[in-house]
Symmetry: C2
Subunit: 119 residues, 2 copies
């Protein structure tokens, strides 16, 4: 097993309470990343697919955010109840979960309508 | 600028001193990731290329490790003195820095000859 077939990065960033951009893991528990890791193992994908904790992915307004590489598929507002669907549909089935994808108009751009802090 | 053209993940993991696998950032200063971020900005790449802090990338014996997506190019033993070369050659020039790439026989496999802890 050389490279990971899929490599998920789950944002685990914290900002101070009340920050206008919000943040992905205010409780700093990494529960979402831990659940991805556990469920991937249950599906027998340990070593082939990795769910990594990551620092701020800079899409804070849409958090909790997850990016899947090498596909470069971005998800926002991911909850623990979405984990199984992402794994089954996207990671195993190759079909991204469209309802959770970040819109192109929101991804990585200060003109995103949801950003209160511009620039 | 929709997706990041390149997205670097710089391992910032710590393990206890003396752990047989070692770790990428024993000082927990994230100096390598900060330098990537600074140099990318100096090259005018802010917003197009991101250098993220990440949790353990599981290639600990070869750390400090960096993976560049969507290319899925893995680097090991990266030092601060390598940052400019990676940016100029790979990120800007499209040509990975071969001398720093992890060998296929080492990447993501318990049979890597450098692993003391198997499994």
């Amino acid at each position: 097993m050389p490279k990971f077939e899929k490599h998920l990065f789950v944002c685990g960033n914290q900002r101070p309470a009340g920050h206008p951009r919000g943040c992905c893991d205010p409780a700093a528990q990494a529960n979402l990343q831990k659940l991805f890791k556990q469920k991937l193992a249950e599906h027998g994908l340990k070593g082939r697919v990795r769910a990594n904790q990551s620092g701020c992915l800079d899409q804070c307004e849409h958090g909790p955010n997850v990016v899947v590489y090498p596909d470069a598929v971005w998800y926002g507002h991911v909850t623990e109840s979405d984990v199984e669907e992402i794994i089954e549909s996207h990671i195993i089935g190759g079909k991204p979960v469209e309802r959770l994808r970040l819109a192109d108009s929101c991804l990585n751009t200060p003109t995103c309508e949801h950003r209160k802090l511009k620039g």
